[in-house]
């Protein structure tokens, strides 16, 4: 019996193999990790680990001994270079391996700056893997100048760490505002003010023309004509799904490896989960880049690989830590047409996204109660009157109690 092989030992891969054992799969099980370390969590890479507040070993999702104890063959530092779906074979480190079923949990690859504009100069880093962080760590010395390209969550988290460590930080964002792709202006405003208060220089509506330097980066030429001197650069301009292997094997690609509701790719013996996979969601097809999704998707696929036949229903959530502020996001705000803000005590607030009467998502800043309540309302498919949400006198418990399915009769009349 050839058994199940999982390619990519990240958040999804680790959850998938653990779940397979939990649901009773007792055949051969192999987890192939391109990186030389056991599967680890990435969120601390732009937060506590980058700051030096967290030991490396703490990043590991499970101790290495866990995999042996579950009879999982953990192969570290091995890259799968080719899949032959017709023969159910794959190539890994010069060896050929047979599989009965295969799961792809290959994650994402960070977008880099083209070499033509200085992207391959020394001192230019991306923020994706442990090795990236370990390589940039010596640069984080108080007083040095850092340029961050990209004002998404990861870039902003890195800015917060660097500013807290006493670096002189400039962040440029090509869009008119930071977080434009993922959040409402109210959320952008909150984080702009937070970073300004910590001395980070935020240049929105400003893009990078090129990085300058010979060998190592020395300065950046910006779209507004200015030349900014810098000691090093972090590039946080998003990721692309890691689809290369799947594409070469002839699997259907559609904003990621295309999977059906159960997580199966266009080949019946091959499955995909996590960052690398797109899946049907409420009549459209989406791809999510988050820990919660990687775990849930992988666990659903594990069950389906042993024949459970369950459709995956995504319940998106996310968080971000910047300085002493914790942002928690429930739901997906895609398609929102208005927001209401509910201000809490001191620095806490929450932004509630609606489409018509339907609550879609909430950004809760230092307000875990708002996050928990919103998450429960959204996951139940319920909604709640925005007027009441906005009123600080409305108790959150009351919101949870009165939340109900949206009234469709009004739309019909």
């Amino acid at each position: 019996m050839t058994g199940i092989v999982v390619v990519g030992g990240g958040q999804a891969g680790a959850s998938l193999v653990a779940k397979l054992r939990e649901v009773g799969y007792s055949g051969r099980l192999t987890l192939i990790c391109g990186e030389r370390v056991p599967p680890y969590q990435r969120p601390p890479l732009s937060k506590a680990y980058l700051k030096g507040d967290m030991d490396r070993e703490r990043l590991f999702l499970r101790p290495e001994s866990f995999y042996a104890s579950q009879d999982i063959d953990l192969r570290l530092g091995d890259w799968v270079t080719e899949i032959d779906p017709a023969a159910r074979l794959l190539k890994v480190g010069g060896e050929t391996l047979a599989y009965s079923q295969l799961a792809l949990t290959t994650g994402s690859v960070p977008r880099r700056l083209p070499a033509l504009i200085g992207g391959s100069l020394g001192g230019v880093y991306v923020i994706r893997g442990l090795a990236d962080i370990d390589a940039m760590a010596p640069e984080f010395v108080a007083g040095r100048r850092l340029l961050i390209v990209g004002g998404g969550y990861i870039g902003l988290e890195a800015a917060a760490v660097a500013a807290s460590l006493g670096l002189e930080v400039t962040l440029i964002e090509a869009a008119p505002r930071i977080l434009q792709r993922v959040a409402a202006p109210e959320t952008s405003d909150y984080f702009r003010a937070l970073h300004a208060a910590h001395g980070v220089r935020l240049l929105e509506g400003t893009s990078l023309d090129r990085l300058l330097g010979s060998g190592t980066v020395r300065a950046a030429a910006l779209s507004d004509g200015r030349e900014l001197e810098t000691d090093f650069v972090l590039v946080g301009v998003g990721v692309s799904p890691a689809t290369g292997l799947a594409e070469a094997a002839g699997l259907a690609i559609d904003n990621g490896i295309r999977t059906d509701e159960q997580g199966r790719t266009s080949d019946p013996a091959i499955w995909a989960a996590g960052d690398c996979a797109s899946f049907p969601h409420k009549g459209t097809r989406i791809r999510l880049e988050s820990v919660g999704h990687a775990i849930d998707h992988a666990e659903c696929v594990a069950a389906n690989m042993i024949g459970v036949d369950r459709a995956y229903i995504a319940t998106p959530w996310f968080w971000s830590d910047q300085y002493d502020v914790k942002l928690q996001i429930a739901g997906l705000n895609t398609g929102y047409d208005r927001v209401v803000e509910r201000s809490g005590e001191s620095l806490s607030t929450s932004i509630w996204y609606y489409k018509g009467d339907q609550l879609l998502a909430v950004d809760a800043v230092n307000d875990p109660r708002a996050y928990m309540v919103a998450k429960r309302i959204i996951e139940a498919g319920h909604t709640v009157d925005p007027q009441l949400v906005q009123d600080p006198d409305t108790d959150l418990r009351h919101l949870l109690a009165i939340a109900a399915a949206p009234d469709t009769s009004a739309a019909a009349s």
Partner: protein
């Protein structure tokens, strides 16, 4: 090392040795004990590491921060006295023999 007993909702007991300095959540995760999901990996962002602390131990644990109180408020069937988020409880020598019980589910 400190012995900690985790009791699943169905009554199954797991007594394991946990290194001082780790969290009670990490003790369960590293030993593959079901019932503590810890989706956010201890980032204090998910509340899926909720347990009920054995009554005898409640007062021996460091007090909850406001943030932990708030997250527990809307966890699955929280107990105002016994509920804790295990990623916020560091293992110390004083916790030798700690007993915690998992809720029916984590949300």
């Amino acid at each position: 090392m400190v012995a900690i007993t985790y009791i699943e909702h169905n009554g199954t007991r797991h007594t394991v040795d946990v290194v001082v300095g780790k969290t009670v959540m990490e003790g369960a995760r590293d030993n593959g004990i079901p019932g503590i999901e810890a989706d956010c990996g201890g980032a204090f962002a998910c509340s899926t590491c909720h347990v009920y602390v054995d009554p005898a131990w409640v007062d021996l644990l460091p007090a909850k921060e406001a943030m932990e109180e708030d997250m527990l408020d809307f966890a699955y069937e929280p107990d105002p006295v016994r509920s804790r988020l295990t990623c916020q409880v560091k293992v110390t020598d004083g916790l030798k023999g700690l007993v915690v019980q998992m809720p029916e589910k984590q949300i």
